[in-house]
């Protein structure tokens, strides 16, 4: 996101921290469409894509489900950026944090930072896990298996420690270097991902003896050998709807959750948010499909294309492991391994940096360097547990859900409250540092959504959509109560104030 900071900001004395953190982005610092294409395409081709693709295969997606589901789900994600985030971002032109502070008060922002920072630590941990699998190919220590939740070897722990320490130190010292390097690596990395898909397609053609002369032949190969729809016991069981909702909400914190207000406030026009399609259809379509094809071939080679074979293999613990390092090595050799390491590194680094910033807002007296080191150590510890990366589908859904209610609050506060005669930016007007409408809407929504998952057997991938409406209604209702009570209190105070001089006067008169 720092990529989006215009150079002019550094020289602008009115811009706090050079990023207009507490003022609208002025006209002269707004950016053109091309900036957003590059930013979105690069940011959404990350190390975690190499985990998500294989996890789709383990979740038993069919060819139709995964292709159509990703097309539709990613389109919904782009529409969410265009219809929810960008219109507010390009009107208010404030960061999420400042806008939330105006609505909900400074202490709510601190709570948001805590939740966001912890979620970032888990995401960055999964990225370090991905990079460490590539290190394992070179050093030959036992890599984690699908069933491993905890570290399974000393070699794995050491590899994660080394990768994590390196990433942490770079994040603490030289974030600018990583940002610069990530921009350089992005075009090459996207094409290496494409290479994964091309090479695995060749493996399937050779292994099945298919003659591909038309798109129909290719589709038949995809249906019968690549995405067979066979689900591995113990993994989520994905249908078309799961894929649609997963793709839509994989970046829920960014669009519906409004985190990208901080980015899109720099856009000259609201429609520039369509640039998010570059990220979705490169990173969350092409890269996910390519990575899933790599792993699907491991399943095919092991003869795991039927329900009975998969069930027997699962019972015997013989399901192949969805480890990006060995998969990339097999497909493209050292170039593939370099891609895995760089994809994990360049995306884990800004994530640790952002988590550090989020935590630093909670403890502003501690230096950013120390907070980033602490955050990196926590992230590295998380990365040692491969269970986080192996359960990434569920974690990504949880991450979006956690921050979604705040997006609903911002949307309602901006568009709906003024139409209902309620005050926008209530905390700022009332001078509160914590407001019950926001806190209540956030926590009650989360409790209801998690309750639905726990007790009503609704999967976590689906609760965020009704959750948004629950959060919106709760925020409206609680805002009515809070603002009405304040008004009656204020008018009561006015009555007392108005009455007081009279009494005093009369008293004096007496």
């Amino acid at each position: 996101m720092s990529d989006m900071t215009p150079d002019t900001a550094d020289n602008d004395p009115t811009a706090v921290g050079g990023e207009y953190e507490r003022q609208p982005v002025p006209e002269r610092s707004r950016l053109g469409f091309k900036n957003f294409i590059g930013m979105y395409a690069g940011e959404h081709t990350a190390g975690t894509e190499l985990m998500i693709g294989p996890l789709f295969v383990l979740a038993g997606v069919s060819a139709f489900d995964v292709v159509v589901g990703l097309i539709v789900g990613n389109a919904l994600a782009v529409l969410s950026w265009m219809l929810l985030t960008a219109p507010i971002g390009t009107r208010a032109r404030l960061t999420l944090y400042y806008q939330l502070e105006k609505i909900a008060g400074r202490h709510t922002v601190i709570l948001y930072n805590l939740a966001n920072g912890l979620a970032f630590c888990f995401l960055a941990g999964a990225m370090i896990t991905v990079s460490a699998t590539a290190v394992g190919v070179w050093f030959g220590f036992p890599l984690p298996t699908l069933a491993d939740l905890a570290p399974n070897s000393l070699g794995w722990v050491l590899a994660v420690l080394v990768v994590g320490a390196f990433i942490t130190i770079v994040a603490a010292y030289g974030y600018r270097f990583v940002s610069w390097f990530a921009n350089i690596a992005a075009p090459w990395m996207v094409l290496i991902f494409l290479g994964f898909g091309i090479v695995s397609l060749k493996w399937f053609i050779d292994a099945t003896g298919t003659e591909v002369g038309s798109a129909g032949d290719l589709w038949a190969l995809a249906e019968t050998a690549i995405w067979t729809g066979v689900h591995v016991p113990g993994q989520p069981d994905f249908t078309l709807w799961h894929v649609i909702f997963f793709a839509w909400f994989a970046n829920m914190a960014m669009h519906v959750g409004m985190a990208d207000l901080s980015v899109l406030r720099f856009a000259r026009k609201s429609w520039y948010s369509i640039a998010s399609a570059a990220g979705m259809y490169v990173g969350h379509f092409m890269a996910w499909l390519a990575a899933s094809m790599l792993f699907a071939f491991q399943m095919y080679q092991a003869g795991l294309t039927s329900e009975s074979a998969v069930v027997s293999a699962a019972r015997a613990g013989n399901i192949p492991n969805p480890l990006p390092g060995p998969l990339a090595d097999q497909a493209l050799g050292v170039a593939g391994l370099i891609c895995v390491i760089i994809a994990g590194w360049t995306t884990a680094n800004p994530t640790i940096y952002r988590a550090g910033l989020a935590f630093q807002a909670i403890v502003p007296h501690v230096s950013r360097f120390r907070v980033t080191i602490g955050t990196g150590l926590l992230t590295t510890f998380v990365a040692m547990f491969p269970g986080v990366a192996m359960q990434l589908l569920g974690f990504v859904a949880l991450y979006g859900l956690l921050l979604m209610p705040i997006g609903a609050v911002i949307f309602i506060d901006y568009w709906v409250l003024p139409k209902l005669g309620l005050t926008r930016f209530y905390a700022e007007q009332a001078g509160h540092t914590l407001t019950m409408p926001v806190l209540g809407a956030w926590l009650i929504t989360l409790a209801i959504c998690l309750g639905l998952v726990q007790f009503a057997d609704i999967e976590i991938f689906f609760v965020a959509l009704p959750g948004w409406f629950i959060a919106a209604l709760l925020f409206i209702a609680l805002s009515f109560l809070a603002q009405k009570s304040r008004r009656s209190h204020a008018s009561g105070t006015l009555d007392v104030t108005a009455a007081a001089p009279t009494s005093a006067t009369s008293s004096t008169r007496e």
Binding site: R176, W180, N183, I184, W188, I192, L194, K202, G333, A335
Partner: protein, 58 residues
Amino acid sequence: MRLMLQTVSLAMLVLTVLFPMLYLFDAMADATMKWSLLIVTVVWFLVTPLWMGRSQAP
């Protein structure tokens, strides 16, 4: 000079896709494709920093 460096970078991107495509159509062996991609990768990371984002370089 800048144009020449950009041309080399562009060529590396084209080759990054071309080599797997040649492998797909049986025009290149697996090992050759992997080595070629490694060379392309090294050239990309040597040449591209010389022109891309120089104003943002640390």
